[in-house]
Symmetry: C3
Subunit: 280 residues, 3 copies
C-alpha cells in the first residue's frame, strides 16, 4: 500500500499504477537517439511497455522530429560526429518545443570527448537525467560542485551528485541495486528510492538505456517529472522481478523481461512496487 | 487449397510453397542496407528462413556488392549522409545489374529529408516497394497522383497508392492486419491480399524491415515479382501465427517467430496460407 | 581428460577451465569496435560469459580507451570512413599499450575496400586473428604467401593460411565445423583443433563476431595467446552444444546460448571440451 501520509509531491505506487494506465492508453511516441548496441532493445522495451518509438538521429531530421515527438531520449553510448550534432539539435528543439527529454550520459567521466559533449547538453536543460552512479557523479563533477561527492560507485553515493544536477534538470536518477531519484518539489528537493529489481539486469546490455527510453515515454504522460522518472524505474523493477522468476540465465531473462513489461498490470504495480521516500 | 481457377499471374499457396523450396535450396544472398534498429533482426530472419545476408552499406562497397548479390534491401529507417549515398549507389548498381531490389520507405511522409531521398530512389526503379499503409500513401503522394488516396492508415486504404506506385516498381505491398500486394500482369494490374499473421508483429520492432529483407530473398528465386513479394508476406504470416501459439508476450514471440520461420515446411504453407485474389 | 603428455605450450581442457575461472574472477573489460549487426549480441555474449564490454568506435575516443581496456576487438563487419579510422587508431594504441587485440576480418577477400583496410591493420600486429576459413585464406593472400593455400572454404583448408598469418599475429584461428587454432611455440608453430559446437551457430548472426569479442576477453586473462584464443573457441563450442539441446530453432538457440555461456562451469569445460593437438 502506498503511504497516504506522503505529500503528493512524492510519487506512490498508486501514482505509478495510474501512470502505467496513462502510458498504455496514450501510447506516447518516443524519439530515440541511442547507441547501436541498444537501439533494438530500447525500441522493443518501449513497444512491450505500451509506448512506441522512432529512432531519428540524423542531423537533417533530429530537430524537426523532437518538436513533434512525445518525448526524446538522448543517449551518449556510441556517439560519432554526426550523431553528436544530432543530439544537440534534438535537445535544443525539445527544450524549445516543450518536449520532455532525457539525457543518459553513458560513459561520461572516463571518456573526455563525450564528457564535453554532455556538458554542452546539460546547458540545454534536459527534463531528466538518468545514469548509473559513476556517470551521475562524473556529470555533476563537470560543474565543480564537488561537495563531498562520493567516489564510490554505489547508487546511494551518487545522491549528492544527483541533487547537484537538479541545477540543470527537473529530475535526476542514479541506477543501481537500489535506484535513487530526486526532483525539485514546492519546498525544496524531494526524492524517492525504488527497491527491488533483479541482478540479471546487469547481465543484459541496454537495460539501462531502455530505462532511459521508458523515462522519456512516462514523462510525456505524467503530471510531474518526478513521477514520470519514478514510474519508469518502477515498471522496470517490477517487470525484472517477474522475469527473473521465469528465466534461467541472461538470455531467457531478456526475453522474459520484454514479456513482463507487457503483461504487468496497474494492479501488479500497486501490489509489488517498493517506492520509499528519501529524507533529503 | 489454392484456387485452380486463378490465372497463373495470381500467386497461389502452391506457388509460395514452391518458392520456399527454392529459397532453401538456393540460399540467396541478400545485401541489406537497413537501419541500426533492425540490422540484427533482419539478418536473423533471413538466416532462419533459409537465405543468407550481408549488411554492406558503405559508399565504397555498396555498389560493387549490389552487382553480385542475389537481392538488395534498401531500408530508410535510420539514414545519415553516408548511408543515404550508399542507398543510391546500391540502387543504381542493382538496377544496372538486374539484381532485384526492395525499397522500404520507413518514415516517409512525416520526415522531409528522407522523403526526398525516397523520391530519388524511386527514379532508380525498385523491383518491389514494401511499406505500411501510411508510408505507401505518402510515397505515392510524391508524384502527385493524389486520386482519392485515402488518408486512413488501414492497409486497404493504401491500395490506390500502391497501384499508383506501379509506375515505378514491378510490385508494391502495403502491410497491415491484412497485407495488400499489387503487380503488373499481362492484361493490367493484378493483386492479392494475404490474410492471417499476428498482432504481436506490431509489438516487436523490425518485423516489417525483416519482411522487406525476405522479399529481396524471394525475388531472387521466383519467376515473377508478384510471387516473390507474396511469398515473403505469406511466409511471415504463417510463421507469425505459429509463433503466437508458442509465446506469452512480445519477447517470447520474437524468439518463436525465428524458430517458426525455420521450421515451417512447404506443406505448412499449402495448408495454412490465406492468399486471396483482388478484383482491381 | 586432457592429455598430460602434451607440452605446456598446447592448451588443454584443464587450462581452459582455469581460464574460465580467471575470466569470471577478473571480469576483463573489452573495447569492441564491431558492426551494427553484431554490436548487441557481442555485448550480451561478453556479459553472459563473465566479461564486460564497452563499444567505443569513434575517432575521438577509440585510441584513448584502447590504452586502458583489458582487450580490444576490431571487427570489419560494417565499416564506414569514421569507424575505419577508429579501427586503425584503436589498433595502434592497443599495440603501443600492450593491450591484446583481435582482428576479425569479416568479408575480407570479396570486398576490395575493407581488404585494403585489413592489410593496413595487419601491419599493426594484432595479438590474434579470428575469421572463417575463406576470410583467413583471403587475408593471408594479401601478402602473397600463396604456398598451397587451399581455395576450399573448409576450415582445415585454411590451416596453411592461418600459419602464414603468424607472421603478423601471435595466434590465428579459422572457424568452421571444426575450429583450427595456431600459434608460435618455443620451437616452432603449434596448434590445436577444437571439435564440437553446433550447426545452429551458423543460423544465428554474429556468433562469429561474438567469438572474436570473447577472444579479446580471454587474451586479457590467460598466460599465452594460444590458450586465450583456444579458451574462447572452447567456451563457445561447449555452450553451443548445451544450447542446442535446449532449443527448437535458431531463435531459441540464441537465447539458450547466452544462458549456457553463463551457466557453464569449469567442471563442464573439463568434462566436455574436445581439444586436439595438431601435428604441424
Amino acid at each position: 500500500m502506498p503511504d497516504a501520509t506522503l505529500p503528493t509531491t512524492y510519487p506512490t505506487a498508486n501514482d505509478v499504477a495510474d501512470a502505467l494506465d496513462a502510458l498504455r492508453s496514450s501510447t506516447p511516441l518516443v524519439q530515440s537517439l541511442t547507441n547501436l548496441v541498444s537501439a533494438n532493445f530500447v525500441t522493443n522495451v518501449l513497444l512491450a511497455a505500451g509506448a512506441s518509438n522512432a529512432h531519428i538521429d540524423n542531423v537533417h531530421e533530429a530537430a524537426g522530429f523532437a518538436a513533434i515527438a512525445s518525448g526524446v531520449l538522448v543517449n551518449l553510448g556510441t556517439p560519432d560526429d554526426g550523431t553528436a550534432a544530432a543530439f544537440t539539435l534534438a535537445a535544443e528543439s525539445a527544450t524549445a518545443s516543450g518536449t520532455p527529454w532525457v539525457l543518459d550520459p553513458v560513459g561520461v567521466g572516463g571518456l573526455p570527448w563525450r564528457t564535453e559533449l554532455a556538458a554542452g547538453l546539460l546547458t540545454q536543460r534536459p527534463t531528466a537525467i538518468r545514469g548509473n552512479a559513476s556517470e551521475i557523479i562524473a556529470l555533476a563533477g563537470l560543474g565543480n560542485f564537488g561537495r563531498g561527492v562520493d567516489s564510490s560507485s554505489e547508487s546511494e553515493g551518487a545522491l549528492p551528485a544527483a541533487v547537484a544536477l537538479l541545477q540543470f534538470a527537473q529530475v535526476v536518477s542514479a541506477s543501481g541495486a537500489i535506484d535513487y531519484i530526486v526532483g525539485r518539489g514546492e519546498s525544496g528537493t524531494v526524492g524517492v528510492r525504488v527497491l527491488g529489481g533483479s541482478p540479471l539486469l546487469t547481465k543484459v546490455t541496454a537495460t539501462g538505456c531502455a530505462l532511459g527510453g521508458l523515462a522519456a515515454a512516462y514523462l510525456a504522460v505524467t503530471p510531474s517529472s518526478l513521477l514520470g522518472l519514478t514510474a519508469a524505474h518502477t515498471h522496470v523493477a517490477v517487470a525484472s522481478e517477474l522475469a527473473q522468476r521465469n528465466s534461467s540465465g541472461p538470455g531467457s531473462f531478456a526475453v522474459a523481461f520484454l514479456d513482463a513489461l507487457a503483461s504487468i498490470t496497474p494492479e501488479d504495480i500497486r501490489a509489488q512496487a517498493r517506492i520509499e521516500r528519501l529524507d533529503l
